[in-house]
Point group: C2
Chain length 211, copies 2
DNA sequence: GTCTATAGTATGATAGAC
DNA sequence: GTCTATCATACTATAGAC
């Protein structure tokens, strides 16, 4: 995070915003640098004054959306206490953060793009995030808090719900981030918990997520 | 369904299978016709003897995966009886079918591809499928079976879980389709139901899904 | 039904003036 | 920091021989 972009609502930021929107709509590969430039209101070669290449735009968006999530997931997986509580708090924070992003992120976690060897470091980070989720689910299954299930499948489904929120957010602006996050976290925990009454306890005892 | 491909394990079928695999891995746009041809073991122009163009390959895969699901969702949404039962049975059938497909489908529902105007008919079909899911969720919320939630968000999350199964299936072959479908249906219903004890009843009273 | 050769197009990126 | 002009490349698809 050694950058100097305090509140630079500059061309650079507008490129990121428009690119994120287009990447979500048409995918990374389905979006041309000409389209991004047109959306920003400049000509295509001018993009390359702000970013060395198209991939650098994608990588900056990945950094925005992945780094914090991975750190939080790591802490959640290695902390102590009831797993349901830790996973619930993590999901709640993740979704609320996601719904507050200034960028319509997505089309970015799509496996196809991260499969590119040039993006291997990001693929590794996403895999690390997923490994923490698998660990959490495994802990919950072993402790009896969650229904028996393959941690891999559980992780995939949790990630699937998260991705669905990214898409939903992009097409339904104006929703309350916390409300959406609560709905998502309740759905996920409801899907995992063996004794779903404990969900009520989770919801009721939760203070607002700290940024 | 006016085709004549009984058990033609022909070049045509192998093109479909390899294309499906590559589309999932690298996306539709990230997969070149040369890659498909190479995977099949022929040269690139030979593809065009079997399909008029690249898009036709995608469309055939879409037909395989979408037509039946839409029909089933339509019936589920307009039938009578408890919503939870109808949605549970639909999801169970959908996931079990999906896990039995000979093709590693996906990368296909990705919004970015369907956004192409040339694929508008398929985009319409997917939207119709989603509208039926929204209707089911809305019915469930109104009847009190499901927790209060926006039908749009609920539909998105259900679809997200389904997509996660497609991905999971592609990377973990050999799992029991029915078992995976049960886990997915339980997750979804657990996420939706207000009174999750009724989930036990759904699971226990269910006979095996008819093909 | 498959091949070689190639047309036609769109793309990401660079050079250099202003 | 943006522009015009352009290069090099990769792609989908066609033509026509075998």
């Amino acid at each position: 995070m050694s950058r100097t972009d305090k509140i630079t609502n500059s061309t650079r930021q507008r490129i990121l915003a428009e690119a994120a929107l287009l990447f979500r709509r048409h995918g990374y590969r389905g979006t041309s640098t000409r389209q991004i430039a047109e959306a920003v209101g400049i000509k295509q070669p001018s993009l390359f004054h702000h970013f060395p290449n198209k991939q650098a735009i994608l990588e900056e968006l990945l950094a925005i959306s992945l780094d914090d999530s991975l750190a939080r997931a790591q802490r959640a997986a290695s902390a102590s206490g009831p797993v349901a509580r830790r996973l619930y708090d993590y999901v709640l924070w993740d979704l609320a953060t996601l719904h507050r992003l200034p960028f319509a992120l997505s089309g970015i976690y799509a496996h196809d793009v991260l499969q590119d060897p040039a993006l291997a470091p990001w693929s590794t980070k996403l895999e690390a995030l997923y490994a923490n989720l698998r660990s959490l689910i495994d802990q919950g299954v072993r402790s009896g808090e969650f229904r028996p299930m393959s941690p891999g499948l559980g992780q995939a489904m949790v990630a699937g719900v998260t991705l669905s929120h990214i898409d939903y957010a992009a097409e339904h602006t104006g929703g309350d981030p916390d409300e959406l996050a609560l709905a998502g976290a309740a759905f996920i925990l409801g899907g995992l918990l063996r004794d779903p009454e404990s969900l009520d306890r989770l919801v009721k005892s939760h203070d607002r997520p700290s940024s």
